[in-house]
């Protein structure tokens, strides 16, 4: 049980799944009721999860091991050292909140975007929420892997059942690509478990080992468990591959445009909003914490991939005519920033990456919703089909502009904070000896992404929203409905708030990020 005396975190994790079970009681054809029930459950989850930052203690003393809060631990398979073990620290806090925040919004959007098999969709959505929160809070490698893989199933179904024409190809590709990426991580988990167990059993006979990576990390830091460099690099690689595909990093990104374009709006939102963050979260949580030396070793190479991704994603986005595809490729670019920040391996870079994950979730989620709005009205997403939407739908145009600017990283809005911190971190990513980890050349290229973001987003905005209303089909479009305004408005609030008061988010993650980077302080000059 956690310090609270009741399993707050577990409730947040399992409430949506429970809701999914309850939804089975709703008659299959009663769409309205299942939507409402789902909205109720997810909203309740969000409401409860709001207690997390309130009760979160941001300044736990820096301990040897990652200091988790709200920990619930129950033995699961004791003879393996597997336990149901969930906990929260500053790294996962906001990601959990992002999940619980985005899900009700997504559910709210299903009124407009999901029209068949509504109950099944809501069930999958709630199951997905449980899995996603689970990934962020699992403290046990086995549990983590289960949640991690389980996220695939609902998402693949969402794409495959409710998607557009080419949905099956996209769903299969999404599932297989990410699944194939994860299996190596499974091997790495097994290997890590055995290596650790054998190392500890050498001094403590009869030790059954553990999948609690907090313990493993602690042993790694205390030196009672030493990983040989080559082995650590291999394990690092196995974890990283899984995360890189999920993120997705260039050149593992090709499933993303397909998945996004085919997925229904709600699926795209949840995919971009939360699911992609699983990968980058994993990098921070596992690659950095468990394999610090290998991280240092691989950082420049990964930095190069990240920078390529930033520019590549942006350029490819520029050439898209389908708005959804454009936004999808922009995700590649933005997630490149996140990875760059993570492998800056310093406080500012990693914090920036974390906040950028939140920002990307909000902005890109909102962008997909916005594209969905127009798709529902016109059943096309080609930029060329539109023009002058701002005139016909002023509120829609205004909201889109705000979100576009947030995505383009305009200072004062959320996107800027993350991008700046990331690049600042990368700029200063030097070892104490002066050896460069990333440094200014990486920033020099990454900053092109900032320019290009303006280019491709304005190309979309200028093309579809400005100009004259050439196409008569667009002349009579109705502006946002009240529900759409609520959905998008909810997303706009944090977009502005984070831009002006990012410290609300930075402050709780400070200790935890420092803890993740525990091993690097001393290695990496913070200046």
């Amino acid at each position: 049980m956690s310090q609270l005396g009741f399993p707050l975190l577990s409730i947040i994790v399992w409430l949506p799944a429970l809701g999914a079970l309850l939804l089975l009681l709703v008659p299959r054809t009663n769409d309205e009721l299942s939507r409402r029930a789902s909205l109720g459950v997810s909203t309740l989850t969000f409401a409860i999860s709001c207690a997390l930052p309130a009760l979160f203690n941001p300044a736990l003393p820096e301990a040897a091991a990652p200091a988790m809060q709200f920990v619930d631990q129950i033995d699961w398979i004791p003879s393996w050292g597997i336990s149901y073990n969930v906990g929260l620290d500053g790294v996962s806090l906001w990601l959990v909140l992002l999940t619980t925040f985005i899900t009700p919004i997504t559910v709210l959007s299903t009124w407009d975007s999901v029209h068949k098999q509504v109950r099944a969709f809501q069930i999958l959505m709630l199951l997905l929420e449980t899995a996603m929160i689970g990934v962020f809070v699992a403290q046990d490698l086995f549990l983590f892997y289960i949640f991690w893989e389980f996220t695939l199933i609902p998402m693949a179904f969402m794409i495959g059942i409710w998607g557009s024409e080419n949905r099956i190809y996209a769903a299969v590709k999404f599932f297989l690509y990410t699944f194939a990426g994860s299996v190596l991580m499974l091997v790495a988990i097994i290997a890590l478990y055995i290596l650790h167990r054998d190392a500890i059993a050498a001094t403590t006979p009869g030790y059954v080992g553990t999948f609690d990576f907090g313990v493993i990390a602690e042993h790694l830091r205390s030196g009672s468990f030493v990983l040989e460099a080559g082995l650590a690099q291999a394990l690092f690689g196995a974890f990283f591959l899984a995360f890189a595909i999920k993120t997705p990093m260039w050149p593992f990104h090709t499933w993303l445009p397909d998945a996004h374009v085919q997925a229904p709006t709600a699926g795209s939102v949840i995919l971009a909003g939360v699911l992609l963050k699983l990968g980058t979260y994993g990098m921070i949580r596992f690659n950095l914490t468990l394999f610090p030396d290998a991280s240092l070793w691989a950082a420049p190479a990964i930095g190069i991939l990240a920078v390529i991704g930033i520019i590549y994603g942006a350029m490819t986005a520029y050439a898209q005519t389908d708005m959804k595809k454009l936004v999808a490729y922009s995700s590649v670019s933005h997630m490149g920033f996140v990875v760059l920040g993570i492998f800056a391996l310093n406080q500012i870079g990693v914090s920036g990456a974390l906040i950028q994950m939140i920002n990307h979730g909000l902005s890109t989620g909102a962008l997909f919703l916005l594209v969905g709005v127009i798709y529902e009205r016109r059943h096309t997403r080609e930029i060329g089909e539109f023009g002058g939407l701002w005139k016909v739908m002023p509120i829609y145009g205004g909201v889109t502009l705000l979100v576009v600017l947030s995505s383009a990283g305009l200072p004062g809005l959320n996107g800027f904070i993350g991008e700046f911190a990331i690049m600042q971190g990368a700029f200063m990513a030097y070892e104490t000896g002066g050896a460069r980890i990333l440094g200014w050349p990486f920033v020099a290229f990454a900053v092109l992404g900032v320019i290009l973001a303006a280019v491709y987003l304005l190309r979309m905005y200028g093309g579809a929203f400005m100009g004259d209303v050439g196409n008569p089909e667009n002349a009579q479009l109705s502006d946002l409905s009240r529900r759409e305004i609520v959905v998008l408005g909810l997303l706009c609030v944090p977009i502005i708030a984070i831009g002006l008061f990012p410290n609300l988010l930075f402050a709780p993650m400070e200790t935890s990020v420092a803890d993740v980077l525990h091993t690097f302080t001393g290695v990496v000059a913070g200046r």
Binding site: I146, F157, V172, L176, A180
Partner: protein, 506 residues
Amino acid sequence: METIPIPPVDWSAITPILVVIGWATALLLIDVFAIPQDRKRVTGYLAIVGLIVAALAAIPLWGTSSVTFSDMLVLDNYSLTLNWIFLLVGVLSLAMALDYLPRQEIEQGEFYPLIMFAVGGMMLLAQGTDLIVLFLAVELLSITLYILAGFAYPRLASEEAAMKYLLLGAFSAGFFVYGIALIYGATGTANLFAIGEHLASPAAANGENTLLLVGAGMVLIAFGFKVALAPFHMWTPDVYEGAPTPVTAFMSVGVKGAAFAAMLRILALALPTLRPTWVVVLGGLAILTMLVGNIAAIAQTNVKRMLAYSSIGHAGYILLAIMAIDAERGVQGFLFYMLAYALTNLGAFGVVIALEQKDEAAWSLNDFTGLWGRQPELAIAMAIFMLSLAGVPPTAGFVGKFYVFTAAWESGLGWLVLVGVLTSAVAAFFYLRVIVRMFMQESTYVTEATAEARVVGISEAKDASPLLYRGLASGITVAAVGAILLGLIPTPVVVLVERSMLALAP
């Protein structure tokens, strides 16, 4: 007077086998004499009862360990757990057959006792510690299955399957016997314990072991044939496709499990000292099997055949566990995987059976198209089975793979684990394809059929909604629930298999 001492016989050690075999023999007679032709279901129910009784009879034996019949049979927790698994397989197969046979109009009373005999053979395989016993058990199992495979007479495919199985089975039996002969020639015994002792002796360690090696190799090949290791797997797709579906289901898990059980015992008792040698051989076979099974399945559009190839792939994974017997988790992993695989695969075949109509092989992927719209429960169950077979959490299949891979890694089979996980990623493709068909595609012909049905005034089109009998439904339900529960709460079963230790000495 000179007396011939009868070696001490502990009948209790084979109580479950005795119950099964005895019940089956009696049931054969009862079926012939007491049960009318149109009430053959009763025989089936009686057979199920028999298997359940045998399972109950095994409970008191838990924890005891005895070697009896001149060290030819052993009772240990390992064999008991296997017995339960086999009995479960038997029960579920019978439950499915109860629906299948009448619908296909091939119901004969003998079917049910034959399954029981096969189960008996499987149990004997799990308990035998002498090559002679193992040979007999294999043949008991095989011959009944030859008959069962051809049970759908006059359907030619069924006869063809039986013929192929028989010819190749006999072929492999030849190798089995010849292998035994060579081992016997080298060691003077066919008893596993004795062979192990012989090999452990210093003389054997230094001496020339070629005869023994070749003999052991042949015996392993014969078992490899039964479990469908590549390249001895060629019969599998054809036989699985041709045989009546419940028989296929039974074979795919029962025979495989039993043969692996015996193989494990041979490796653990007789050949532990030769591990470096057979690891190479079996490792090669395992890689080949995982690759062939999982890759060949990609090209299949026939679900039954696809499942056959998938079962080959799974044989590769199970082999990993078998090879890892020097690690503590090898045996456990094997048992856990067997149970997980048995539930899942039986369930999957159960769904195939549910879709199968008289004279209509509903095995094509097309028959699964849009199943979710027609039979949501069936589709969801099938999805669970497919995900479990693919090893996606939170299903039994995932925990099984996790168990097996951990065991293999522990015993230093890292490269095989790599091949294992990569091929399981490949395998996900064809499992997923079934799900895609069921959930993500609208079936065109069904809508036509339904429309037609509406015109004619039939409430449900035949294809659109095959009837689900109680036996089949309960079988599928048990399998599906089991596959999920085993994935979420594997702990009780883990505890069970952890205690299912092998008796390593007489």
